[in-house]
Symmetry: D2
Subunit: 424 residues, 4 copies
């Protein structure tokens, strides 16, 4: 592998690491990506050209507004911001002009609301690229994903004379909370795709390991439930209130009891509940973060329908208003044998890979599953792979990825895949 | 007081005690009353002539059917049964033909689903008039009330030349569960009534005491709530069931939390809950007996509306059907000063009365309140009194009333009242 | 197959079908079995000789007492009843005197509290052997199991000169509710067993099918939970009560929410709840039938511990007493390859068998799993098989088994197994 | 009334209004009071000299620490801070040296966590004394109470030659949340008090009205309940978590259902609930603000005990830790006829008072009730009065008191009382 790709990746990743942006607010990140892609000769799709707005979830407009202001202040061009239509992320398309398959890769770009540790021995602190944004951190490795994507773009541009078909590099916003993939899947840009490949760093793989994901990944729906009641003095006129807190509490415990499903595993979590204003006032507001999962899409739908029906009607029992918003969704992983086989072959021949293993049932949830499902459903091939690092756990303040060793493997997998299927 | 009235009362009461009948099934009791009233020259109203069927509550048609069969077998005339239109109780009207006020008295006639004790020293056992019906007993003294009413009828007939105005003796069915009074109040037969007097034996008064009830008596609503779900094997396909048991349980605990009301005391009771069929089957049926009370009619309505809203919507949260029936209602006591003053005067001059006391807030609930409220609301006078006995507690299997000493006081109060207001 | 075995089985089964007995009350059934076994030369173990009383669950002593009286009245010998030590079921042991393996078979003998249909076309009605006991029925086929066991005993006796080793026929009481097997497993009588085979008629197999059960069968625990509070008048002094109904309701809905377990499927059912005495009395008693299941023994233990902890402490929250009894338990099926292979071989060569299939994961729960687990754990072999019938569903009032066609297959499987492993 | 007292009061009140301090952090306020009292010749008790630390509730030590730092920075003397023993408030004692009754007045001094409105027409904005502390405001009028107390001190000092007996001016910290009075009541400083008088501005009285409080004021207990569970990934291992959120939710809805009490009105409020960390993590922490009230001390104790028992045991049901702290308490008002009569007489003769009314049952709760109860219980006299203002509602961001018109009435009531009982 050429040293130059590696150096570029490391530099890009660390640059991104310093300036993390949350899902749907990645304007600076997107500006960096787009500038690079265009320089490398890619056609770039932005905003509704690659996102179907009807499927956008979990977006806070005031946070978007603030992020655009911040981007402006940090030198992002106003014309570019207009071009985004207020939507982050993009797709870079490289048409070789030669007949051949359409191959798409997914790289997710968003960070997390986590404060990076200031421990001296933390990787980013040792090398001096700690997050400069208080309370925000690339604690899941998406900075690495983005850097790999940019290096792959560079490689494509370098190999332009040897490639055939078309290559689409999807820089996906808002993977955290499984929000960003579905509007891409439903935008039409995957309709001609023959191979759809996603990947993630770390997870259950240690540095040097590559995992080929055969299936699994629980389907999931994230919901925000808001209850609105009516205030009243709890001592003087409790009967005049409408108690949003009790409604939310009853809904929460009832959600816990959604019946098990014989068709597959389920999960239900009410991860956060904030309700009430003051000790002696009947609570007006309650807010609940809910998450369900299912072993199949149908089982997850069963859970989701239960959450809606229970929340809505429990609220009515308390004469309280209820608003139930889906703010994230992922499906199960539909890998194809052919795509997995290519990945396995690439992995087995890749420098730095000490072990390749098949993962029958990927744990957790991931919204790249929407992209793969879309392609597989129209007859294409799809798969995901993991490339490891010796991390301390994702979403931790001391998450680290040994970029110099691990990123080249991700890069090698993607470029290896192109060498297998898009080489003329 | 003439001995003959007393002897008749004792005999009537004991006869009724032997053959108790539950609310809405008092066909033999009604037959006895009607026969007597007619013999004494009263006009008798039966069925829908004195009951507004739209307000009938807590009636089990199959129990009515069985009771009519039993009455037939016990010698009640079929023609009479037809005359009842399947409704028990009656009103006896005595028009003196002379100008004067219209005075109405209430006597309730139903018994309870309680097995009378076989203790040798129990009053009814000592004197040989124990209930002959297994599991049924006059354990609240309504047998005494009925006997007093019949003796009052006799007295009226005897005094016919000295009385003026009109007298209505209401023999009310189904007081237990507060079911029978409202359809009488709404029938129109109270529209011309000037004085409405009700009474009860025992309660907080000992033998020799008379209590004049100035107010109180909590308004109450009795509700039967049925939940209907869908069966499924709890092990093989729990997701296919609709769980009526969990719906009822959640509804029950939510009912307990109906907010306190600053406008007056409230009560909520879920006295019985029967749910489910088998350990390993998702429960299809759940049945709940609910009772609310309120210090005012409005506060009781608040409680009732809460029960309906909560039960209905909690059921929906579980995708279960819910049927919420009102099976009994009573209101608060609206006594008038004038009626209370007459009762007090009568009591103070009555033989056998050792103490007369005013009761500010009658505890518990009583549906004679509907009759009094109806009359007071159109400008008439109304009141209730208690005449004591040394009982062991109402609704107990050893409830006793010392009929020979206590009933004459009830009789004396009613006839004394007539002597005050209907004597020409 | 000899016709005589078949005729005997049919006659035995129909005789048992007429006189069904519930779990732990099978005195007449046991008397019949023991008499036959002894006549055939078997040594018979009764009472604590084959049951470890410490592990007995779900037994109602007053029902046992009544059943013993009924048995006496129906001609069962008093001396025999004494010999049972009040415990039903037995083990018949046949020692050939020749070296060879110890093989044990399980036949369960109890009936269900189900009223048999009086539909004219119902098998038992057509052939005139309908249950003579109102509300009791062999609706799960255990009458057939018992009849097969007796015929196997006869066959053993007939083949006594050709058999080697020892054969133990376990006639297990109280399989319904998974109550009877564990005290047998823990009695010591399985300690020397080499092969432990159980079976069930019907289930997912149609007539002519034999299923070899490789594993599955959810571990399960059945619990009876009783709550005891304190009565008080719901209107006059609600604060003086201790509400068993609300405690049970809260416990029930909380049980529904026991967290899912990532180690395997779980089930929770509160199948029945009966609480409260009267609409206007704070409920004193509540009774709840609970059942949990788990994909592994550990997962089932997790569920069981949760039920205990939740019920006990929710009761304390309401100042109510709680008694939590385990009344039934089953474990998962630990079949061994060798035992399954023998069964498969036998089935494939058996007359009347049209199809043999492996069942990877047996659905539902079955307490024969305790017996098999015991033997497998000390190094023996074990398995279960199903032999089909065209039934309408187990535990239904019209359950039928086509005894003349289906029972010979069960008989053939057991005797075929002996021919494979206990033939000299 | 002398103009100089009024001017001083207005100036003091507005000065205090600008620098509000929350309960237990009123160091600057206390410094101001103490300095004044000492200058006027009062003996001053601080810290444990007037507070019994065993009864201190609802105190956050880190907030105390910060407030002391802030006070230091704002010029409060370090020696003085040491003298406080970290406790705010004080008692000023004036011994006339002449025989006579011991009279004590209560003035509460703390502010609220409310952001004062910036509306131009708001009283404090018009006159330029808006709170200078973000998020803190004297929105209940305690700034006025304190100013009245200081003016009363001045008046006493001026009248020193005409007064007899002893006068104690109690400047109480932490009345909000009913935290500060009980430790004063239990300190011993009230043991010799003959008259204990408290008051409040506003409430149900408009400007010019004085209310004499005959009784009422619900007893109350404020509780903070913390639940601590164990984190686990909600998708990967839900069974490893201990869910503090569900425990709190169940506790909350169960608290709502604490049975009504026939001995008096009750209230229960869970005013705030904050639980959980992240959507996909089993919640570790839950925090709940609870408040109960009762028409009598006994009924309030009944509610408090229920909160403790329910919270503790529901937590155990979820295997979660629970800490239940009492952070505030008030009792019912035990006014004496004699003290009320004196207040009534004073009010009727006071300039600016347009109406004097008796208030049978004071609504809400107030912890001055502890001080009055303490004195009445040992045979002294006690009462409370209200002096009105045209406010928009207490605890609102636009609460206003028309200090120039309303404070002189409060001042006149207290000094009038002294003129009646402590004039030589």
């Amino acid at each position: 592998m050429q040293n130059s790709y590696i150096e570029e990746m490391i530099q890009d990743r660390r640059c991104l690491h310093r300036r993390p942006e949350l899902g749907w607010t990645e304007f600076e990140t997107t500006a960096l990506i787009v500038k690079r892609l265009r320089r490398l000769g890619f056609q770039v799709l932005l905003g509704t050209h690659y996102l179907n707005p009807k499927f956008i979830m979990g977006r806070d407009e005031s946070a978007v507004e603030q992020a655009m202001q911040r981007a402006l202040e940090n030198g992002v061009d106003e014309a570019f911001l207009n071009e985004t239509e207020r939507y982050t992320g993009c797709v870079g398309i490289y048409k070789t002009g030669r007949p051949g398959p359409v191959t798409a890769f997914r790289f997710d770009i968003d960070a997390l609301p986590i404060e990076e540790t200031d421990a001296a021995d933390h990787e980013a602190n040792l090398a001096g690229y700690r997050s400069e944004r208080k309370g925000l951190m690339h604690a899941c490795g998406h900075d690495g994903h983005t850097a790999v994507g940019l290096a792959v773009a560079h490689w494509i541009s370098d190999r332009r004379d040897n490639l055939c078909g078309t290559i689409k590099l999807i820089f996906q916003p808002a993977e955290e909370g499984t929000r960003g993939a579905l509007p891409i899947a439903e935008s039409g840009i995957l309709d001609d795709v023959d191979f759809m490949i996603g990947s993630h760093i770390g997870n259950c793989c240690r540095l040097g390991e590559v995992g080929i994901c055969l299936g699994g990944s629980l389907a999931t729906t994230k919901l925000d439930v808001n209850f609105t009641g009516l205030a009243a003095h709890a001592g003087l006129a409790p009967e005049k209130g409408r108690n949003a807190l009790f409604a939310a509490c009853n809904a929460a415990t009832t959600l816990a009891g959604i019946p098990r499903n014989s068709q597959g595993s389920t999960r239900i979590s009410v991860g956060k509940l904030v309700a009430g204003e003051s000790r002696n006032v009947i609570p007006v507001h309650a807010y609940m973060q809910v998450e369900v999962r299912g072993e199949t899409e149908e089982v997850n739908d069963y859970m989701t329908e239960n959450v809606k029906r229970i929340s809505t009607n429990i609220a009515k029992a308390y004469d309280v208003k209820c608003d139930c918003q889906i703010v994230g969704r992922a499906t199960t992983l539909l890998s194809t044998q052919k795509a997995c086989a290519v990945l396995e072959k690439v992995a087995k021949n890749l420098d730095g890979v000490s072990s390749v293993r098949n993962i029958e049932k990927v744990a957790g949830s991931e919204d790249c599953t929407w992209l793969i499902r879309k392609v597989v459903k129209h007859g294409g091939e799809g798969a995901m792979f993991l490339f490891g690092c010796n991390h301390n756990g994702h979403h931790r303040s001391d998450f680290s990825i040994q970029d110099r060793e691990s990123l080249p493997i991700g890069f090698g997998m993607f470029t290896g895949f192109l060498s297998e299927v898009n080489m003329k």
